[in-house]
């Protein structure tokens, strides 16, 4: 039953992204990146996170994928999303906004900021719990901090500053995910600065590393289970192997997937394709 619900969600939320992206004749919504990470977002935000946990979308250009998930969770209304997305005065930026601080703690878009924010947050939660502050935010379970980055984003130096901080402060309440589609804005990661989603790099920085198929919710679920079993107090990294544009055949694995507008012909075909995920 749960598996069929998950299967339906993967289709339904992809359709939603495509429909919303078709509101603009431009390529601004970064459809390829949204399709690359939507399954990760579904498993993380809908099935894994507890109310006290926080999520940072460091790859802020995939904001539309986050909006449809937050909409599914009832945190963004249908009316508001449908009526205002890509309209003048909307709060739904092409990059994640600062107007929904409870659900989107940091406005991102410039890459390489999210992990630093996440490590600060994870460290703060540990400190707040350890120091037993009177007005503590923390009562009961230690909140976990989830942060999704892209593999291209790992070009940024600040990512590795944050990784060192996470490792040396043993932030076991940090779960970082990399959407490893092996493409960045203008090239393949291996041809630009190398693979930011290489497990060995993250292990060397003191992380527990788990790899999974990033379009399989079952695989993602198992990855989260593995993370929970680690008792070594290290920060956690889930490398999610993905395909940019996943679900829209003409765009899958292609650089141009982030530069394609949902114009009539491709829009219709994209909706058909998603039915055959």
């Amino acid at each position: 039953m749960k598996d069929s619900l998950k299967g339906r969600l993967r289709v339904k939320l992809r359709e939603r992204i495509i429909r919303l992206a078709s509101k603009t004749p431009t390529a601004h919504p970064h459809i390829g990146s949204c399709m690359s990470c939507i399954d990760i977002l579904i498993q993380t935000l809908i099935f894994e996170m507890k109310p006290q946990d926080k999520f940072i979308l460091s790859k802020g250009h995939a904001s539309l994928a986050l909006y449809v998930v937050l909409n599914y969770l009832g945190k963004i209304s249908d009316r508001e999303l449908e009526k205002t997305y890509f309209e003048e005065g909307t709060q739904f930026g092409i990059h994640t906004p600062g107007t929904l601080p409870k659900d989107i703690p940091l406005a991102t878009g410039s890459l390489g900021h999210g992990l630093s924010f996440a490590v600060g947050l994870a460290k703060a939660y540990k400190l707040l719990q350890a120091t037993n502050i009177t007005e503590a935010v923390i009562r009961g379970a230690l909140p976990r901090v989830f942060c999704l980055m892209s593999d291209g984003e790992c070009n940024e130096g600040a990512v590795w500053e944050a990784a060192q901080f996470a490792g040396s402060h043993r932030l076991h309440n940090l779960i970082t995910l990399i959407d490893r589609n092996r493409l960045q804005a203008f090239g393949r990661t291996k041809d630009v600065l190398g693979d930011g989603g290489a497990s060995a790099k993250w292990r060397a920085f003191g992380f527990n590393v788990v790899s999974c198929e990033g379009h399989s919710l079952k695989d993602l679920e198992e990855a989260f289970s593995k993370v929970k079993k680690f008792k070594n107090k290290k920060p956690n990294m889930i490398i999610c192997n993905t395909i940019r544009g996943k679900g829209i055949k003409a765009l899958e694995g292609k650089i141009e997937s982030n530069y394609t507008a949902m114009e009539e012909q491709i829009y219709k075909q994209a909706l058909k394709d998603t039915q055959n995920l």
Binding site: A107, H113, S116, G120, L121, A122, K123, A124, V137, Q164
Partner: protein, 299 residues
């Protein structure tokens, strides 16, 4: 001023267990006691300032009150985007402390100086700037910053001994009374301006010290300019975007006219040689002797 700074921060942290202190690997021979007494709330964030700034904003989001510390250019110019995106745009309660405003680091050279921090930081939303002229101002300033929930930048410099009695702290305050010339000084260059006017006859220079931005100019300073109609602004900051520009704008907006507006400011690196703070001040005409000559020529 870092010794006094450490002492005051420690007092605050003792009272408020949400206060945390992050340093970019600096504080040798100054912050050892602070480190030992704050325990887990003292974090050496390493030589990783980009991460330190944004991690502090994450901590502020969680309800902590982080102070971040490094040499001034490393917590301003170097991390401008992190400050803008992650602290100022959301308005998170992070306090940025930079040691060595102006030429304070002397022969350490331009990489360790910051001459344009006011210009940069004033262009950011929600951020307030504080610059003590005297070490005696520091406790008042830090307590003020602590009580305010806004992001703040504190520009520290080396403390210098001051033998002249000074009035109690205010964002903009009168230091000496005078009738002929209004001198408005930003921050610690006051320690070169005061000796430059000491030998003058009494009641010549109406001397004011500015320690905070955005500028809130008291009526008495406007009255001073209306009377003297001669203004001299002195700052250890480049011409663009510092006290001179901001003050001039305030005077225009308030329709305060004057005969002369003289601006003494940091002129960068004229000879490209290295030296003490005074070496650079001399090159910029901000040394005691040149300031004295300029003031004498105006009265």
């Amino acid at each position: 001023m870092r010794y006094k700074f450490a002492e005051v921060i420690e007092k605050i942290a003792r009272k408020d267990d949400k206060t945390v202190f992050l340093t970019g690997d600096l504080g040798f021979h100054a912050f050892e006691k602070l480190r030992d007494n704050l325990g887990e709330r003292f974090i050496n964030a390493g030589v990783a300032e980009h991460n330190m700034v944004t991690a502090a904003s994450g901590m502020a989001y969680a309800g902590l009150k982080p102070w971040i510390y490094s040499i001034a250019p490393f917590v301003t110019i170097k991390v401008l985007e992190e400050i803008r995106n992650d602290i100022c745009l959301p308005g998170y309660n992070v306090k940025i402390v930079g040691l060595g405003g102006g030429y304070d680091y002397g022969i350490a050279g331009p990489t360790h100086h910051v001459l344009n921090d006011v210009a940069i930081m004033m262009s950011l939303p929600h951020l307030k700037i504080y610059t003590p002229g005297f070490v005696e101002d520091l406790e008042n300033i830090i307590n003020k910053i602590y009580k305010d929930k806004s992001p703040a930048y504190l520009r520290l410099t080396k403390a210098e001994k001051n033998d002249i009695p000074i009035s109690s702290y205010a964002a903009v305050r009168r230091i000496t009374h005078g009738e002929k010339l209004t001198v408005v000084v930003f921050g610690s260059i006051i320690n070169r301006v005061l000796p430059a006017i000491l030998h003058l006859k009494k009641n010549m220079v109406d001397l004011w010290l500015v320690s905070e931005f955005p500028l809130l100019i008291p009526k008495e300073l406007f009255d001073s300019i209306k009377k003297t109609r001669m203004v001299c602004v002195v700052e250890e900051h480049v011409q663009t975007g510092g006290l001179g520009h901001h003050f001039n704008q305030v005077l225009l907006e308030n329709k305060i006219s004057f005969k002369h507006f003289i601006h003494l400011y940091a002129k960068g690196y004229i000879s490209h040689r290295y030296g003490s703070r005074d070496f650079y001040l001399r090159e910029s005409g901000l040394d005691k002797e040149t300031i004295a000559k300029t003031i004498e020529s105006l009265i």
